[in-house]
Symmetry: C2
Subunit: 193 residues, 2 copies
DNA sequence: TACTGCATGTAATCGGTTACATGATTGC
DNA sequence: GCAATCATGTAACCGATTACATGCAGTA
């Protein structure tokens, strides 16, 4: 149940609407956690019901309303509690690796396509992560600037450093996957020769 | 929806009961996919209803029955179809990395404990994967022997090679995580000095 | 006799996905 | 006027988790 904490963490930077939060999950590189918008809107309502966030309603046209959410003191406490709490290691559930375990059932050409797609996907991801790391280091991302603006100067280094560390980790992961796919392609060659 | 395919793949080696299948998911290194036993039993019943597997019932004591499942021709076809089909890349959802993004909220000692636990977990995993790779290469695992026994001799090399490649990939992943945790520990030192 | 491991389930709940629906605002 | 994007939801469904329940078999 980390979606709520991802939301609390994003709101710590400042008030945001459900739509803006969904964008952070969908489009930006800030997606160590993914969530579709219906889940975000429902979770925000739940967090509001539990008093962890509050909503400022503004009229939008004649019938609709826009709801900007902000952290409550309880929400901030919950965020801090969660960060300190140890995570139970996650269970592995990887469809691509599961499938690769049984590649002998597929044609070599098909196996090649699998590995090529795996490589292409992670090359794309790698570029995203690297670009994001560069932006964080230059303190260019909007979210980071909002966080730094209301944090004590002495914390700035750590705030930036931990984020950089995470996205460098994601980049390293992508490189590991690219190498795995390349060794896979070599293996297909070896098996068909 | 890969649980069903994991089950079909395991049954390809030969008939098994729900309990034996659950053990493969729980205890053995064969867990690129994790599933708890209630999910396995229900999925097996569903697969039976769809005619992809069949169950042989044997009495167990006076009231209970043991059900050994085996692949039907339809199940085998579905397994082959799935292996050839391209996977959509999976969405990232990583609680440990999400939390690490906000480590500035925690005490340095707590952050150290997080990284140490991360490293310890993946060191354990690494040993599992390496042991499993060695067993596969020696063709020692029971499941592999059952598969090889009813496969054509000319396919043996590929059957072993793809499994080895997957578990070597898992080992590589574990090494990447260990290094990430170690760089994390260095970072805490640097930030607190 | 009691404990452990073998063995099979049901039920409640929850998190996540997909399809569908509606309206507002901005720019061509 | 129309399309694209902004913005907010509901509902149905499905996969995964957790708690609970039951009975068999071997052994200390």
């Amino acid at each position: 149940m980390s979606l709520r904490h991802a939301l609390l963490a994003l709101l710590e930077a400042g008030p945001m609407t459900g739509y803006e939060l969904a964008k952070q999950f969908d489009q930006s590189a800030d997606r160590v956690w993914h969530a579709p918008h219906p889940q975000i809107y429902t979770e925000l309502r739940k967090l509001e019901g539990e008093g962890l966030v509050a909503a400022d309603e503004q009229p939008r046209g004649t019938k609709a309303v826009k709801r900007a959410y902000r952290l409550n003191p309880d929400g901030e406490r919950e965020l801090r509690r969660w960060v300190s709490e140890l995570e139970a290691p996650q269970q592995v559930r990887d469809a691509a690796y599961l499938k690769a375990t049984y590649f002998e059932y597929a044609e070599p050409a098909t196996v090649r396509r699998h590995f090529e797609r795996h490589r292409a996907h992670h090359e794309e991801q790698l570029q995203r992560w690297e670009r994001h790391v560069a932006q964080l280091q230059a303190r260019e991302t909007e979210l980071l600037q909002r966080r730094l603006a209301h944090a004590s100067e002495s914390d700035h280094e750590a705030i930036v450093a931990y984020k950089v560390h995470v996205y460098q980790g994601m980049a390293e992961r992508a490189r590991t996957e690219i190498e795995w796919a390349e060794r896979g392609l070599d293996l297909v060659d070896k098996l068909t020769s």
